[in-house]
Amino acid sequence: MRRVGIEKINFYGTSLFLDQRKLAVARGKDPDMVVNDFLIESRSLNPPYEDTITMGANAAKPILEDEDKDAIGMLIVGTEGSPDFGKPISTNIHGALGLNPNVRNYEVKHACYCGVAALDTAVNWIASGLNKGRKALVISSDFSRKHLNLKEEFVLGGAAAALLVSEKPKVVEYEIEKKGTWTTNVYDTFRPSAIHEVGNNEVSLYSYLDALEGSYTHYVRNTGEEIDFDNYFKYNIYHTPFAGMAFQAHRTLCNLWRRRSKQEIKESFNRKVYPTLRYSRKVGSTYGASNFAGLCSLLVENDDVKAGDRVGFFAYGSGAIGEYYSGVICDEAKETVEAMHIDDALQRRREVTVDEYEMIENIRESYIEKPDVKPDFSILNNWYKEFYQGKGLLVLKEIKNFYRIYEWS
């Protein structure tokens, strides 16, 4: 079996953020609970001229050199936030990035599993040898809808990740024969219209954990090995609708292997999981980019990560599916991810007040399903000029009779 994994990876957390402590105070909630229990410091927010297309392209651009653009033979974009029910956003992104025309492209949907669904297809294509040496570009891009004053308002956000998947992995090499999958039919969180994002938090948490146990058990069975959970995986990356969920997920798998006290679990969590939450704590919900955010976090946050360390990954998509898989860190992983300067980009984001956040969410919602829109580039004292102009980021310039027109800033 040939080697397959991530050769390059980048994470894009948009250009604005809201401090969740301030949101908690504005909503009469306890800010300590939001930050300490749910591990959410801030959430990212899009200005009106960004969407899943711009975020995906902006995540991908820094990892692509001209030779990569020629070598790509497949582009798959995972999202649950496409602005079109027919035309896939992979076509917009293909055009914006200037990839060669001999590329198979499509968009995949399965709530937050979409990114790993896209990755899995790319990995299998390369493992099969049918890629004939070519690479795959996998993107996951999503953001929340408007939930002003609702109880789930603290677990929103948005982010995009882009990965170049090839036979020459530099970041992580997947153990492609080790995988566990678990599916059920449930309405936990879903998007039944272009505006709504609805569901039941408790159903979703329970369904997530059923899927975690189900897919991990299946993973263990498929490996045919007796797996000592504590020592087999050096690090554990879990899907994070909010960063604090990773603690509960880890608690579940720890107790599945051997029951122990909350204190002992906390110690294991701090060592094996906490370093993977650097970016989800800053952007809020990472949707389909979650596992990739975790991988970038681990490599930037932790100086002890070494080539050969095994990472266990759990991906979850509402609806629902759970998938457990694993990979091994490569020699050049840390330097490859650090070259993207993800921290610097997140630090350049502008903080918005609660009032500004509400204004932006209302503007964004007013554009949905409108045939003609000229996004407001003037908001936040012309933030466009400061963050975007001349920086080569993709923005939505106009929607004209439903045609979406993008341009590089």
Partner: protein, 79 residues
């Protein structure tokens, strides 16, 4: 297994998973939230109790339960 035994297992797991609480303090007619549990703590109490009783209730059936007594009733359907 009797319902009293099921309640006893739930109480034991509440004590293990929450800070500063003893079994004697727990009233089954109350919700775990009344004892300072957040939604993640409650999920863990449910999971570890099920493990101890060796039963598997689909967690999606657990979302509209209001107190410890009702949780015990749900578990009794699977014991």
């Amino acid at each position: 297994m009797t319902k009293e035994e099921v309640i006893q297992i739930i109480k034991k797991n509440i004590v293990e998973n929450l800070d500063d609480i003893s079994e004697e303090e727990i009233d089954p007619k109350k919700s775990m939230r009344d004892y300072g549990a957040n939604s993640l703590d409650m999920i863990e109490v449910v999971s570890s109790s099920m493990r101890e009783m060796n039963i598997k209730v689909p967690r999606s059936e657990l979302s509209d339960i209001n107190n410890i007594d009702e949780l015990a009733d749900k578990f009794m359907e699977y014991v």
